[in-house]
């Protein structure tokens, strides 16, 4: 039996209108949907990862978390799943695998957030729940690698056909490196995989397929680490690798490094919000930034006494939602209610 998906991911490239845009679909962004939803505010979430959960999904999906109030232990995946269940009644819309790249105020006073995939969302309130920033591919610290990025060095594969007939070198030992080795070798002129050690952490099935392919001469496996790139004007000719038997040169046109993701602040720094040491200062009453109607909650904000704990982010989301309501419905009366006793809240949650 398959359960219906807990969230709806929107295809990129369209325009949307909502009450609140949440940048970041980590645990704090997800819980913000709940607190906003209790006040009848609709949310859209934008996240660069291909699934909700933020650091809980990317860094510790299987690691235990012990400090969620009332839950002695659960994993990052469990927490994400539970939050998605908790917010399901509010039908938040998710814009995944997209980076929020621009935030501008419209003539009508609303904000327009634009993503790198051409999605635009307009709303009177924006909540930055971006944690440590955007998860982006780790770039190997090889001299001059920047000069080859986008022409010969790629950190993701968006169009396989672009690599047809090329001499491709893939670096890394995880699932991305192995999966792309297996997927690209049929159309490559030659395909090499370089990894620092003979063991791989990727799925055993992919590793054994790769070894079979290497044995049959379909691809080459190098044990070493790239230390130098050769070529000029963005055109890669080859690399030098450090191996146990000394340096070797390998010819290639395309290099695909897969060393996992790391958090970079990214375009949030250009949204016009005051920042300090890569964090967004906020007040502790509403968690509002230097720009009214833009809030920051979770790991990305800073205030005296701040602790980067998920539970702090949950609290911040609840207080933020109160002020967000006042902005969206300036003439409406805000009533404080408990989910345990309020029939109206229970109807919103679909339990009454």
């Amino acid at each position: 039996m398959t359960n219906p998906p807990l969230y709806e991911a929107m295809p990129p490239g369209s325009h949307f209108e909502t009450d609140v845009i949440i940048a970041g679909a980590g645990p704090v962004g997800l819980f913000a949907v709940f607190e906003l939803g209790l006040l009848d505010l609709k949310s859209h979430l934008v996240d660069i990862l291909d699934r909700p959960g933020g650091q809980c999904a990317e860094l510790y999906p299987e690691k235990p978390i012990y400090d969620i109030p009332g839950i002695p232990v659960l994993t990052g995946n469990d927490l994400t799943h539970n939050l998605l269940q908790q917010i399901a009644p509010f039908n938040a819309q998710f814009h995944l695998s997209q980076m929020a790249i621009d935030l501008k105020r419209r003539d009508n006073g609303k904000w327009r957030l634009t993503t790198d995939m051409g999605t635009t969302i307009d709303a009177p309130v924006v909540v930055i729940a971006a944690g440590g920033g955007s998860f982006q591919p780790k770039k190997p610290p090889i001299p001059d690698i920047d000069a080859f990025e986008g022409t010969s060095v790629f950190y993701s594969v968006r169009n396989m056909e672009g690599f047809r007939g090329k001499n491709i070198l893939i670096a890394g030992g995880g699932d991305s490196a192995l999966d792309w080795s297996l997927n690209l070798h049929p159309l490559a002129k030659s395909l090499g995989l370089v990894h620092r050690r003979p063991d791989f952490r990727a799925a055993p099935d992919s590793v054994s397929k790769m070894r079979t392919l290497v044995g049959a001469g379909g691809m080459t496996l190098h044990t070493g680490q790239i230390k130098k790139l050769h070529g000029k004007e963005g055109v890669l000719k080859g690399v030098t690798m450090k191996t146990a038997n000394g340096d070797i040169d390998v010819t290639c046109d395309i290099l695909l490094p897969f060393f996992g993701l790391t958090m970079k602040l990214g375009p949030v720094a250009d949204f016009g919000i005051a920042m300090e040491n890569n964090l967004i200062p906020v007040d502790t009453e509403k968690f509002e930034t230097s720009v009214p109607t833009i809030f920051a909650i979770g790991d990305i904000n800073h205030y005296p006494g701040k602790l980067k704990l998920i539970l702090s982010g949950f609290h911040e989301a609840a207080l933020m939602a109160q002020q967000a309501f006042r902005y969206v419905h300036p003439d409406a009366k805000l009533r404080f209610q408990y989910t345990t006793s309020s029939t109206s809240l229970q109807q919103k949650l679909g339990v009454k």
């Binding site: 780790k138 610290p141 890394g172 030992g173 050690r197 680490q225 790391t262």
Partner: protein, 115 residues
């Protein structure tokens, strides 16, 4: 965790990527990464000690290499996401400080730089 006068002092020597030398006082049971971060030295350590990111990569001074508990396979796997990995590479979140490690010397390594 408090130290008492009877506790033996544990010094953790750290060389930053820029070559600065620091002698830090560690508490038993703390992860080397936590000590380095606590002193405000430049270390990304973005997963906070879960052995999930390789951004606390260090080189262990050769004299100390065999005094450490060897890396688990999980740590070896995670080192695949670090750069310029050497025989003496470790993730500093996986080194638990104890009196026997008084004087341990670590050099912050590629991939540990904060933004």
């Amino acid at each position: 965790m408090n130290t008492t006068p009877e506790d033996p002092e544990i010094i953790l020597n750290v060389t930053t990527i820029d070559g600065e030398e620091h002698a830090l006082t560690a508490l038993p049971g703390w992860r080397a990464m936590e000590v380095i971060r606590d002193y405000g030295l430049p270390i990304k350590a973005e997963c906070g000690g879960a052995c999930a990111c390789a951004t606390c990569h260090v080189y262990v001074s050769p004299a100390w290499a065999d005094k450490l508990v060897p890396p688990t396979s999980e740590e070896e796997d995670m080192l695949d996401e670090a750069f310029d990995v050497k025989e003496n590479s470790r993730l500093s979140c996986q080194i638990l400080m104890k009196p026997a490690l008084n004087g341990l010397h670590l050099c912050l390594a590629p991939g540990s730089e904060p933004d």
